[in-house]
């Protein structure tokens, strides 16, 4: 069944009438996700792909019983949409929006601590449980059901690696993009812990990058708490110091956040390190069928 999605997910799309929102709503429906409606303030009463659009999240929940939301709203309005979802009682919120100011995220992070809602992202490709459902923009065709959990801070790099697994017929339980911003709602450790507890997941692939110490914390958690094998790839080994590498969060500050430091910590925790994405399938634990799809 995978993590985070539990089969009773009734999904709302905030920003459903936008170009992206509408496109990805269709993709999600086609993949099998139970999308039950959307929210666009001022457009309540319209219909998108046969789904009702509401003015407010509260109204959408009342009618549809939604418990999960994809926030597909531009950066200027994204935190408002997330607060609305939290305060209306949505339990799982996935935000794909890039470019939310860091001071807004600091506040939102604190607010999240005080509520029972979980945020994945922002600046996340979302999450996908192969063959079952997806929330976000991860392309469905790259994945197949299986027993590897994937967690990542990247977007297309994640697709690359998931595709490489699928190409080698190695399926996944759930693929989770936690987002590339310096402050995100859910971190590596939380997702690793879910994979550890998930009976379907047999091993985990972690895709990290430079910046911050999320991977260092992950290494500590893996060493102390995890029984399942972990294979990792860290992007940015050749990145210069002090430069933001595309992702707002991908920056080496002084001695902190370098790929070398992270690789060292993960290795010390018993994690196998891939030199490049295409090397990951070969590093996985166990006897996996090596046939082409």
């Amino acid at each position: 069944m995978g993590i985070l999605l539990d089969g009773h997910d009734l999904v709302l799309v905030q920003g459903i009438t936008g170009r992206e929102g509408s496109f990805h709503t269709l993709q999600m429906i086609e993949y099998g996700t139970q999308v039950v409606g959307g929210v666009t303030p001022g457009k309540g009463g319209e219909w998108v792909h046969g789904l009702p659009v509401f003015d407010t999240v509260a109204a959408a929940i009342e009618v549809t019983g939604a418990n999960t939301s994809l926030v597909c709203v531009n950066a200027a309005h994204a935190t408002d949409a997330i607060y609305e979802a939290i305060n209306a009682g949505i339990k799982l919120i996935v935000c794909i929006t890039e470019g939310i100011p860091v001071l807004d995220m600091i506040k939102l992070r604190e607010h999240l601590r005080l509520t029972g809602s979980r945020l994945i992202g922002p600046n996340s490709p979302g999450l996908l449980t192969p063959g079952r459902a997806k929330i976000g923009i991860i392309p469905g065709y790259i994945a197949m059901p299986g027993s590897v959990g994937v967690v990542s801070r990247s977007g297309t790099l994640t697709y690359e690696i998931v595709y490489a697994l699928t190409y080698e017929a190695i399926g996944q339980t759930t693929c989770v993009g936690i987002g590339g911003d310096p402050i995100v709602g859910t971190n590596f450790v939380e997702v690793l812990s879910m994979f550890e507890d998930d009976p379907q997941t047999e091993q985990v692939v972690l895709i990290g990058e430079i910046g911050g110490r999320a991977e260092i914390d992950a290494a500590a958690f893996i060493q102390a708490e995890m029984t399942k094998p972990v294979t990792a790839f860290i992007a940015g080994r050749s990145a210069p110091e002090g430069q933001r590498m595309g992702h707002a969060g991908a920056i080496i500050a002084g001695r902190e956040g370098s790929a070398a430091e992270k690789i060292e910590a993960l290795r010390a925790a018993g994690v196998r390190i891939a030199e490049n994405p295409e090397a990951i399938p070969g590093l996985l634990a166990g006897d996996r069928p090596n046939r082409r799809v």
Binding site: I106, P139, Y159, G236, G246, A248, E256, N276
Partner: protein, 385 residues
């Protein structure tokens, strides 16, 4: 987005943070006039936006107006890390009996702002936010209740700042905090905050870095950006909303997605083995829009170091044939020269690759895997193909 020091000080002044009486000049004559008016030894600071500017060759002291004019003549027009100096900040030399570092930045590991103070300069505050050297006193700022005066007193106490300056120090720290918050600054620092012989605290040097993501709601600050004072390619990239960093190698990279762009760069570095390397980091963002490919190609073609271009696109939900048509359109617009390796993946990627191969065979190599793409680009750069 970094502000010039003089801009940061203007901003500070609005928040009543005391700074020296400085002026910006663009000519040696003006430098003479300003120094003469100040009628005391001055310091000239080149205003460029390269790294931690305002230090090294970019700073000179002058005892009188004539000397200031001479220095200005030398400094204006010189290059610092590839950028021409066009503006100088001239300030009186301030004597100080003590120097304090005071800065506010985000500690992402605890999801909070941290205010830090030290009796010694802090080389890299963002790194120091998490590392905890004992010479730095630090307080975390609660995102909701904000910076409390008692926290500033804790800093003052830790610095052993004489108590008669505590109130002054508290006011300055609170103003720095307000200035930082209201400017959406990811870094607001005073280094040093000088204690003058007559007992005043004065922000001698200042630094404000504005969150790029917040510029839309900070129109005044956005308008302060001086693209003349940074590398031309950076300004172009900023305008096109793509992320670009110049590196020292020969393979120009255009990739969609930051993680994938770094990975491409890493693989070139590894396989290039010290001989060949990436000429840049360039991320056109998650999608694969033709206009961003065009802008990326423009920037890279202007780089004389580039011997070959590697375009690495993983299409995601965008169809490969659409991506291919976008690339062809971009190439058509650019009409640039030189070899190009294209790696295209994603849904309907094969159709895309076929389209590319049939449309534009000269100097264009279409491949499937990351390994192939990297090694082919390296071979071309080395001339071993």
């Amino acid at each position: 987005m970094r502000l010039h020091e003089y801009q940061a000080k203007q901003r500070f002044a609005r928040y009543q943070i005391p700074t020296p009486a400085g002026h910006v000049v663009t000519s040696p004559q003006d430098a003479y006039a300003v120094a003469a008016a100040l009628a005391q030894p001055v310091v000239l600071k080149a205003q460029v936006l390269t790294g931690r500017g305002g230090r090294g060759s970019g700073v000179k002291a002058a005892f009188n107006a004539a000397e200031a004019q001479n220095h200005a003549a030398e400094m204006l027009g010189m290059k610092i890390k590839g950028v021409i100096v066009r503006k100088l900040l001239i300030e009186p030399v301030i004597k100080s009996v003590a120097s304090i570092y005071l800065g506010i930045t985000c500690d992402r590991n605890v999801s909070r702002l941290a205010i830090m103070a030290s009796n010694a300069p802090i080389a890299d505050i963002e790194a120091s936010a998490h590392l905890q050297p004992s010479t730095i006193i630090r307080e975390y700022i609660h995102p909701f209740s904000g910076l409390h005066n008692y926290q500033v007193r804790n800093l003052a106490n830790g610095l052993n700042l004489p108590r008669e300056h505590w109130d002054d120090f508290t006011r300055i720290a609170q103003r720095l905090y307000r200035c930082g918050i209201e400017s959406d600054a990811t870094l607001a620092e005073i280094d040093p905050l000088a204690l003058t012989p007559d007992g005043r605290l004065l922000a001698l040097s200042s630094r404000l870095v504005i969150d790029d993501n917040a510029l839309a709601r900070q129109p005044e600050l956005r308008a302060m950006h001086d693209s003349d004072a940074e590398l031309r390619a950076l300004a172009q990239a900023r305008a096109a909303e793509i992320s670009y960093i110049k590196l020292s190698g020969q393979i120009g990279c255009i990739v969609n997605g930051a993680g994938l762009a770094m990975t491409t760069m890493d693989m070139i570095t590894t396989y290039g083995d010290g001989t060949v390397g990436p000429a840049n980091f360039l991320d056109i963002g998650g999608g694969a829009q033709a206009d961003k490919v065009t802008a990326g190609l423009h920037i890279i073609l202007a780089d004389p170091d580039v011997k070959v271009i590697l375009l690495n696109i993983f299409g995601g939900t965008t169809r490969g044939d659409e991506v291919a048509r976008g690339i062809l359109q971009a190439l058509d617009e650019i009409r640039g020269e030189g070899p190009l390796v294209i790696r295209l993946m994603g849904t309907h990627a094969e159709e895309g690759r076929t389209l590319l191969e049939s449309a534009c065979p000269n100097d264009l190599h279409v491949v499937t895997t990351l390994n192939e793409a990297t090694q082919l680009a390296i071979a071309i750069a080395l001339g071993t193909l």
